[in-house]
Amino acid sequence: MQETTELSPESASVLPIHSGIDPTISIKNLDFAYGSNQVLHGVSLDIYPREVMAFIGPSGCGKSTLLRCLNRMNDLVDNAQITKGSIEIHGNNLHDPSVDVIELRKKVGMVFQKSNPFPKSIYQNVAYGLQIQGVRSKRKVDQKVEESLRKAALWEEVKDRLNENAYGLSGGQQQRLCIARTLAVEPEIILMDEPCSALDPVATGRVEELILGLKNEYTIVVVTHNMQQAGRISDRTAFFYLGELIECDFTKKIFINPDKKQTEDYISGKFG
């Protein structure tokens, strides 16, 4: 846990955001509604390669909805639709009819709030994504499983019991297994929906450490209720309130000197 707190204010400022790099994800003036209930109002936001973006805000502010828009998990909800604006990844509109949502979800992985490994062996869990893609070669799968578990810092703990049921693992291990499972399909972007909300502080520390390690390779978007956590792991933070993006800036700026009064009130615990 101690290492995770070492993120210095300077580390944010050296990010290559301003040096003309194209954003990975570009959200443009997005309106989103569940039926007649509009939950997002004109959100515009760019997320850059290899940064950790944190979404914070009180419950019901639309931050999870926005996250689930990024890999179109909202398609599963009846009547949920984008009413205005667009989301683009590398300039490709996600909601274009020609987009294959399966390909999209392979590139944009997701880790859920509740760790939900399949009731299978640890190995089977990680191999699942490869198997449904039709990878038959045992050697290739073995290799990928080990690689993913190593990246998720779980290999050392489970290498001797790969064939045991995943539900024999502790909560934190299960969540890291879910991350490993996501890594195995080689995504470019990883979305995390409150990944630590069900974990104890030690397990949370391990996951946070993992996130910081992963950002060298992946673009990560994290939704969190825990503002300290946002402070510890994210490069930039977006604050949402009642479906609107109030402020998005470097994390240290948001936490030390926010532009908006609402942000300051939320950060300092006056509401939420």
């Binding site: 490709n92 294959d100 699942y128 499972r181």
Partner: protein, 556 residues
């Protein structure tokens, strides 16, 4: 921005997509098939049943609801059909008789009588037209000729068979010759009896109607008499001639035979019986031949009676032997019905739980399926009889029984499977989709396997019900008695599905309700019931074991 050429998310025209659509189509198809059958069931009963209850003059057919069962009398007067129950029929009859009696008394008597009798006679004349009589006579004579020729031919064959074989024991010549002439005489007697019957029929006709005819002095009397004479002659003449030629011929043959072979070789009726047994094996289907067969049987009866031993016994039907065909039949019925029910039910449940968008239509579908669960089993029997046995022309068969039973347990299976599918955590679905699974892959790999224990639990209930119900199989699949096992005597493999079987519940019903009761049937029915219970328990235990194994495998 337009998606560029190398858009990594561009839709693929892959096989996966095709499979996806195919599966969706299949699931929807099955669901609509089940719905169609449910609709057919309700429509069939409502359209036909309501017609019965609401027919008649008033809005409601009260008689149908309040009367006891009676014979129906369908009157056909001047092309108008009128249906009357016994009560109404006799009331109407009494009324009309009274009316006619009054008319009769009221009219000027003699003329009126003449008129009435004339009418009666012309009606009778229509029935007994000369043409008809001729036809009758001709066919009778033709049949008679055939019989006599066949009779003789067979006898010749039999004799030549007999003489070819070795002598084992002897029978007094006189006895055999008495036997031979005895059964021919017997047969001829029979024929003359028949003739006498025709004669008496005509005499009766004459006795009843001649007085009135003579009295009335009708001009057609002559023609009727003529017809009658021709009739008699036509029958009698060929009969007489064949009788004489026949007796000549038989005497000659007999004499020749005796001369050629001597008295020693004549007496083996053991060989005759063997020949008879061989003839018996031949299956004769043609109707002309079957009359030959009947003759052979009657001709050889004296032989058979001479050797057969009769035991003093009283017979009790269905009280001996075993129930193996019924056990096999029940197992087959249950297994087939459950397979169909689970396949259709799970397809339906997947469509409802995973693909169906919640809305008014879907709740209507669910309502229909739940209602199906409340339909009494006898109505499923009627439905299966109407749809599978009659309409699809499957007759009383395994296939019809399977589908009828499957439809009976289908509501339970669908409802419970849907529950089982819904109880799978949403997280499994989301994780699977988030890892790039298509919808069907998601269902196949991360929903269905985990829902299987729940689905099997529901199917256990179904097994007990499918095995236990008598009513649905009564008209669709069950035979009261069938000695062959289902795999015996099949000409080609499809016949397997189109044969009726015995079933334990139906056997219990037959033994306890359809035949005379005695001390031996009680054992039988309770024995069957016991085996039945054990069998159902066994099948259910197997499913429970399977379910527990699966549960152990998938727990979360």
């Amino acid at each position: 921005m337009k998606p560029n050429q190398d858009n990594p998310f561009k839709a693929r025209l892959s096989r996966e997509k095709f499979t996806e659509n195919l599966i969706f189509g299949l699931l929807r198809g099955v669901t609509f098939f089940v719905l169609f059958c449910a609709a057919y069931l309700f429509w069939d009963i409502f359209s036909k049943g309501a017609g019965k209850v609401f027919e008649g003059e008033g809005i409601l057919n009260w008689e149908f609801l309040t009367d006891d069962p009676q014979t129906l009398h369908v009157l056909n007067e001047d092309g108008v059909e009128q249906r009357l129950s016994s009560k109404k029929y006799y009331a109407l009859k009494d009324e009309k008789t009274l009316k006619r009696w009054n008319e009769f008394l009221a009219g000027s008597t003699y003329e009126f009588c003449q008129q009435k009798i004339k009418e009666a006679f012309s009606a009778l004349e229509k029935e007994w037209q000369a043409e008809e009589l001729e036809k009758m006579v001709q066919s009778f004579v033709a049949a008679e000729k055939d019989r006599l020729v066949n009779k003789f031919g067979f006898w010749k064959d039999l004799l030549s068979d007999t003489k070819a074989t070795a002598v084992d024991f002897e029978v007094p010549e006189a006895e055999v010759s008495a036997m031979v002439s005895g059964y021919f005489l017997g047969h001829l007697n029979q024929e003359s009896n028949r003739l006498a019957l025709v004669k008496s029929e005509i005499t009766r006709f004459r006795a009843t109607h001649y007085p009135t005819i003579e009295k009335l002095n009708v001009e057609n009397l002559q023609s009727l008499e003529e017809a009658y004479r021709t009739f008699l002659n036509q029958i009698a003449e060929p009969y007489r001639s064949s009788l004489s030629s026949f007796s000549d011929e038989i005497t000659t043959t007999y004499q020749k035979f005796l001369d050629a072979n001597g008295p020693k070789e004549f007496g083996h009726f053991k060989e005759a019986l063997i020949a008879y047994g061989q003839v018996r094996e031949v299956v004769i289907t043609d109707s002309a031949e079957s009359s030959v067969w009947k003759f052979i049987q009657s001709a050889l009866k004296p032989f058979e009676e001479a050797v057969s031993v009769s035991l003093p016994s009283t017979d009790y039907a269905y009280s001996g032997g075993g129930i193996f065909p019924a056990i096999v039949g029940t197992l087959l019925l249950v297994i087939g019905a459950m397979l169909i029910a689970i396949v259709l039910g799970v397809f339906c449940a997947i469509f409802l739980a995973e693909y169906g968008k919640s809305g008014r239509f879907l709740s209507l579908v669910r309502l229909a399926i739940l209602n199906l669960a409340g339909v009494p089993s006898i109505i499923f029997g009627l439905f299966g009889f109407g749809l599978f046995v009659i309409f699809l022309d499957w007759n009383v068969s395994l296939l019809a029984g399977w589908f009828t039973l499957a439809f009976m347990v289908l509501p339970v299976v669908i409802t419970a499977s849907e529950e089982a599918l819904r109880s799978i955590p949403q997280g499994f679905r989301e994780s699977s989709l988030a890892l790039g699974a298509t919808k069907w892959t998601m269902i196949k790999t991360s929903v269905l396997p985990y829902a299987m224990p729940g689905i099997l639990t529901s199917s256990i209930l179904g097994v007990a019900r499918a095995a236990g119900e008598t009513a649905p199989i009564m008209f669709t699949a069950a035979y009261a008695k069938r000695s062959e096992l289902p795999w015996e005597g099949l000409e080609n493999w499809t016949d397997f599905f189109f044969q009726g079987v015995m079933a334990l519940p139906y056997h219990i019903y037959v033994v306890s309700a359809k035949i005379p009761q005695n001390a031996y049937t009680a054992d039988m029915q309770y024995g069957t019931a016991f085996v039945f219970l054990v069998l159902v328990l066994g099948v259910a235990s197997l499913s429970i074991l399977l379910r527990n194994r699966l549960r152990k495998k998938y727990r979360w």
